[in-house]
Symmetry: C2
Subunit: 341 residues, 2 copies
DNA sequence: AAATTTCTGATTTACGTACATCAGAAATGG
DNA sequence: CCATTTCTGATGTACGTAAATCAGAAATTT
């Protein structure tokens, strides 16, 4: 049977109250007594029963999720996952508030972050726009002992406690290798479509992609990056224009959102032009395009996993507990038409 | 505030004891009263506090894991993950016993299964060898109301409650497409190395692989399957022999274990022969081979996820609770040298 | 209508922890 | 050595549920 506080008390020769004071770091215990209790805890291998402790505490975790508005499928999915998390609120003892801010809008994000201060909040998760002002606002929160987790996109050199998202450099590298290998030694041009170079995840994907392309696929030439601002309509016109400008384009990598527009542009030139295409984010549109062969591979991050991981990390940080890094690693999913879930 | 049993009792106009009888399906409640209580439960949206319930019950789950012996890295990793699970036993209220049986040994597996009967066991997880005798033994357990979960390899048409493993047909298809695309339209022969056609996962991988090869890559010709019995030494000699027999081999798919032997065979012909290689299971050997370019892609199933999922499912089944299928889906990981964890 | 069976209510204890209160012991100061 | 402060023990309540007991009400049978 698993040891309890009573066993510690008996082993250390003190009362339950004293054990409780030591365990919960309350004052009123002499140093020698404290050490005696701590030794007993180690010796008999006591582990706190978290379930019983939470029950006794009646603890709830008020959490804030700051996510961008915008109608692309990924952010829609992300918001929906956060919403799903609110449905589990009573079970997980969370109380989640969703704050929506316009995408790539630094002042809006900063004021959303500052609004959290002073309130009794157990953690903040945000999709970071990588700017000094945001970094400063996160720093203010962290210095107030509020756990902060970046979600999907990280914040350079910031004090955030954790990043719940994929390794975007690795994602870009993986995309480059898939595209390069799928093109099997052919020569030609590659077009990269991004959302905005303001967000770190897009910059990192591009960097990883460019690195591998340069290192390993010298026959493939990268055209200037198209910035589609994660907007389907803009993406469509940019890609269509590029395709009509150059007949040498044989590969496309969309490292941002706006896949709907890209797919439309691809279908418009479909039978004549033969293009190998790698994109990010599995949505109903990319899934259909993958099945019918319009695109060749989809790299995906599971928004549900990211949200659940962020919640676990915020709760653990709020309780001063360590997070199990390995368990919180967000994996990069690679989908071909054969392994769709 | 979340409703409790007291709230149900008040709402239904009955006592706590009656609510308890309804909730725990104990006898001694008239039909009309039972319906009244159930209506109240639905109306106020009561959700059982599982933590409190487990605390009150002091429930422990005695589980049995039946895993093959054998020194290949994957099974070693699987056993180690089960062992890790035993370390979490006190937290998760499990009591895990590991039973090792020789691989591909049907009678041994059957007697291990039958040994469980009569004991007070909350669930059995097994790496199935796909044979009628095993199916019958699983059927016997299930009819005794013991939750049974297959792990890694499934059992055809059996009564097992759940399968904790990847979709192996999809895995085979994915391997075929990766290999086919990486070979970029070249013509040649493909060698497939398997462990044993006695286990369903290997059969299914081969089937998926063959299907896609036939459908989509007519220029690639499949040689007869090599059965390496998941043994590195045997794998090495089989592959070496095949490579010396035919100079037309340009691709290899190892759908089983024994990667150490395969890698050794590849290195022996390394500078001259140019081979595209896809294998299963990320181990220290395959990881190193991937990094140095001896192999091109690794398909992986995360043994840790599988074990944890199996435990969750057995506990839920033992409690008569539904499992969330989506959460228990085991993903197929695709690793290139760029996205290694 | 009495006897019996079946249901229901009231009450209590327990699970392991948190937290508060109060009395008394030990240590410290003068 | 007394007064004060600081520490410790004893005790009780609470969290939400499970489970047991016993008395009494209601339904059923005779």
């Amino acid at each position: 049977m698993r040891p309890t506080v009573h066993d510690i008390a008996a082993a250390a020769g003190v009362s339950l109250a004293t054990v409780d004071r030591v365990l919960n770091q309350r004052p009123g215990v002499r140093l020698v007594t404290r050490e005696k209790v701590e030794a007993a805890i180690r010796e008999i291998g006591y582990i706190r029963d978290v379930a019983a402790a939470n029950l006794a505490k009646g603890r709830v975790y008020p959490l804030v999720f700051i996510v961008p508005t915008g109608d692309n499928s990924f952010m829609h999915g992300l918001r929906s996952e956060v919403h799903h998390a609110t449905l589990r609120a009573s079970i997980e003892r969370t109380d989640i508030r969703i704050v929506e801010v316009p995408p790539f809008d630094v002042p809006a994000l900063v004021s959303a972050l500052d609004a959290v201060q002073g309130q009794d909040i157990a953690g903040v998760a945000l999709v970071a726009t990588d700017a000094p002002e945001v970094r400063a606002a996160v720093g203010r929160l962290v210095s107030q002992r509020v756990p902060v987790v970046t979600l999907v996109s990280d914040l350079t050199d910031s004090a955030r406690h954790h990043y719940a998202g994929i390794d975007n450099i690795a994602a870009g590298r993986t995309a480059a290798r898939l595209l390069g290998r799928f093109l099997g030694g052919r020569q030609g041009e590659i077009t990269v479509l991004a959302g905005s170079m303001l967000v770190r995840d897009h910059r990192e994907r591009l960097q990883g992609f460019s690195d591998v392309m340069a290192e390993e696929f010298p026959k493939l030439h990268l055209r200037p990056v198209l910035e589609g601002r994660d907007d389907p309509d803009l993406a469509r016109s940019l890609v269509s224009k590029a395709l009509s400008e150059s007949r040498d384009i044989i590969g496309i990598y969309n490292l941002g959102a706006g896949n709907r527009g890209l797919i439309a542009a691809l279908k418009a030139v479909r039978p004549e032009r033969e293009l190998t295409v790698v994109v990010h984010e599995l949505t109903q549109h990319t899934r259909a395009a993958l099945v019918e062969g319009t695109i060749d591979a989809v790299l995906n991050q599971d928004a549900g996993h990211e949200v659940r991981s962020a919640i676990r990390v915020m709760k653990a940080t709020a309780d001063g507990q360590a997070v199990i890094a390995d368990q919180e690693r967000i994996r990069l999913d690679i989908f071909l038409k054969d392994n769709l879930p």
